[in-house]
């Protein structure tokens, strides 16, 4: 309970800090919604010509995009500090002020920064999932499980990318590219991936947990695949937290002047 109060306060402080620049805050939310809708419109034009892509309809694509955007949005809303920001802190030796706080370093950094554009993504995600026509009251609990699994996967990827500077010096640029590569893969209709590529995306690089498996399960439910999706997501997240804790032993503090921005 104490931990929850702390993280809640941390997120609140992060938003207070972001809201200190009110106009920027509001504009970022609006532009993100606009950006997502423009992208969806482009795909809509594409589907008008082809009607299906490897058996996926525009509605399937809407559901997948909604899931990707919604699960992704949790990162900027609550854990924006994990990922590129954390990589730079590690690389510049600026984690000290988080290490002297009696809380988990990873989540303290994660919740200390927020990105208002995530709210735009969150709203878009909800709208897309709702209007995809695939969701009903009966499968709503399953959709929540997909959202949970997607959040775990996005967090896992961000945590693993964050640990890179512990093992490879000056790797923040590589990390940034890896992150966008992962996001780009997740943005295409999952049906275009098949064979070994699909196998990799549904196991080692679990981007398929968000962009492939949920739509397939919505059409052809399999208890085994569903359980695999949930358990594997939790395992991936736990493993990434363990790797971060291990990497922390290699942290080298720097002597740059710095302040919370």
């Amino acid at each position: 309970m104490d931990k929850l109060i702390y993280y809640q306060q941390l997120i609140k402080t992060g938003y207070k800090q972001a809201f200190a620049l009110k106009k920027v805050f509001i504009l970022r939310v609006l532009f993100m919604i606009l950006n997502n809708l423009m992208l969806l419109y482009a795909w809509h034009l594409m589907f008008l010509n082809f009607s299906t892509i490897h058996s996926w309809t525009f509605n399937d694509f809407m559901f997948m995009t909604g899931l990707v955007v919604l699960t992704f949005s949790i990162w900027p809303i609550f854990f924006r500090g994990i990922g590129i920001h954390l990589m730079r802190l590690i690389e510049n030796g600026e984690l000290d002020s988080f290490l002297v706080i009696p809380r988990h370093v990873l989540f303290s950094v994660g919740c200390s920064v927020c990105d208002p554009s995530g709210i735009g993504d969150f709203i878009t995600g909800i709208l897309l999932i709702f209007f995809s026509g695939l969701v009903s009251l009966s499968n709503l609990p399953m959709v929540f499980c997909f959202i949970f699994s997607g959040i775990c996967v996005f967090l896992t990827i961000n945590i693993l990318i964050s640990t890179l500077p512990f093992f490879i010096k000056n790797s923040s640029d590589i990390g940034e590219r890896l992150f966008y590569m992962f996001f780009n893969i997740a943005g295409y209709p999952g049906s275009i991936y098949s064979g070994y590529l699909k196998l990799i995306f549904c196991t080692l690089l679990p981007v398929g947990f968000i962009s492939i498996l949920p739509v397939e399960l919505m059409h052809n439910f399999s208890g085994t695949v569903f359980m695999f999706l949930i358990v594997a997501s939790i395992c991936f997240l736990s493993l990434s937290i363990f790797i971060f804790s291990y990497g922390l032993k290699k942290y080298e503090s720097g002597n740059r002047f710095n302040i919370h921005h």
Partner: protein
């Protein structure tokens, strides 16, 4: 609280760097088999030249860095094994790193710190009020940190690190960049606070004024090794020989004779009568000169 609150036992930190893509690994020993003990309530100056290993040692003692070898204990806990438990009981101020949010007020940062240390809102407010009153900074608590002067900000940083009543306070160059007045205020508040609550203070500073006005004991390190562990008064007596009697000759040349308990009157008579003089004065050997001479040795 244990009598000995800080123990460093052959504490060593070696940084490793790779030269080139496939190059050999270069080792830089920042701290080398450092051993010392600090008792509860002591105010220690941990000094040394740049790159001497001060900050690295503080970072190992505060659980920021893992050592390469050796052992350390702070309040009976091994810093790198009991990080969360230890940092609940210590306070840390880095002169060059802020724990306050730049666009928000110090009060916002204190609210967050209170949640981190499980202090109730009422308890935290009372503590902030008490410290702010003592540090004469009540007017600044609700201003954005970006609008505070460096002196005000450092006092706010100190409040943040004292909020949870730490038993040991680590200060790494806390007066860096402060003007004379701000330094004076910072030192007097710190001293008052440490005396009032019996806090052990472990201070690194390049400012001899900080050391003279706050500390009882000096630990001097260079190249990661302990060169000296001494009471400040003993240090002055041993290396600085206390007072120096100076005479200015008519030519403008200044001659000095060290005044010690063993100095004889006959020596002084000889000193004065050797040549005429136009001025006589006594000066103390300052700590900075003593420290610099030890570094050079």
């Amino acid at each position: 609280m244990p009598e000995t609150v800080i123990i460093a036992d052959h504490l060593t930190k070696i940084f490793k760097y790779k030269k080139g893509v496939l190059g050999k690994i270069i080792e830089n020993t920042a701290v080398s088999a450092l051993s010392f003990e600090v008792k509860a309530g002591e105010i220690i100056a941990f000094i040394g030249p740049n790159g001497g290993g001060k900050s690295t040692t503080i970072k190992m003692l505060t659980s920021i860095l893992y050592p390469s070898s050796g052992h350390a204990s702070v309040l009976g806990l091994t810093p790198w094994k009991n990080r969360e438990k230890l940092v609940r009981q210590i306070g840390v101020v880095f002169g060059q790193k802020s724990q306050l949010y730049y666009h928000l007020s110090p009060t916002d940062s204190y609210t967050l710190s209170a949640a981190a240390y499980n202090l109730s809102s009422r308890e935290a407010k009372a503590r902030v009020h008490e410290l702010a009153k003592q540090f004469e900074i009540e007017d600044c608590l609700n201003l954005p940190v970006k609008n505070l002067s460096l002196g005000q900000r450092m006092r706010c940083e100190l409040i943040a690190s004292l909020l949870h009543r730490p038993s040991v306070l680590f200060l790494d160059e806390p007066t860096l960049g402060l003007d004379i007045e701000a330094k004076y205020l910072f030192r007097s508040f710190l001293l008052k606070q440490a005396q009032k609550e019996g806090t052990t203070v472990f201070l690194t500073s390049h400012d001899v004024g900080d050391i003279e006005s706050l500390c009882h004991r000096i630990l001097l390190i260079n190249h990661g090794k302990l060169l000296l562990d001494s009471d400040i008064q003993n240090l002055k007596e041993k290396y600085g020989a206390g007072q120096v009697l100076c005479v200015e000759r008519p030519s403008g040349k200044i001659e000095e004779i060290s005044l010690q308990t063993t100095t004889k009157l006959s020596q002084l008579k000889k000193f004065f009568s050797s040549q005429p003089f136009s001025n006589v004065f006594v000066r103390s050997t300052d700590l900075e000169t003593i420290i610099a001479s030890i570094y050079r040795k």
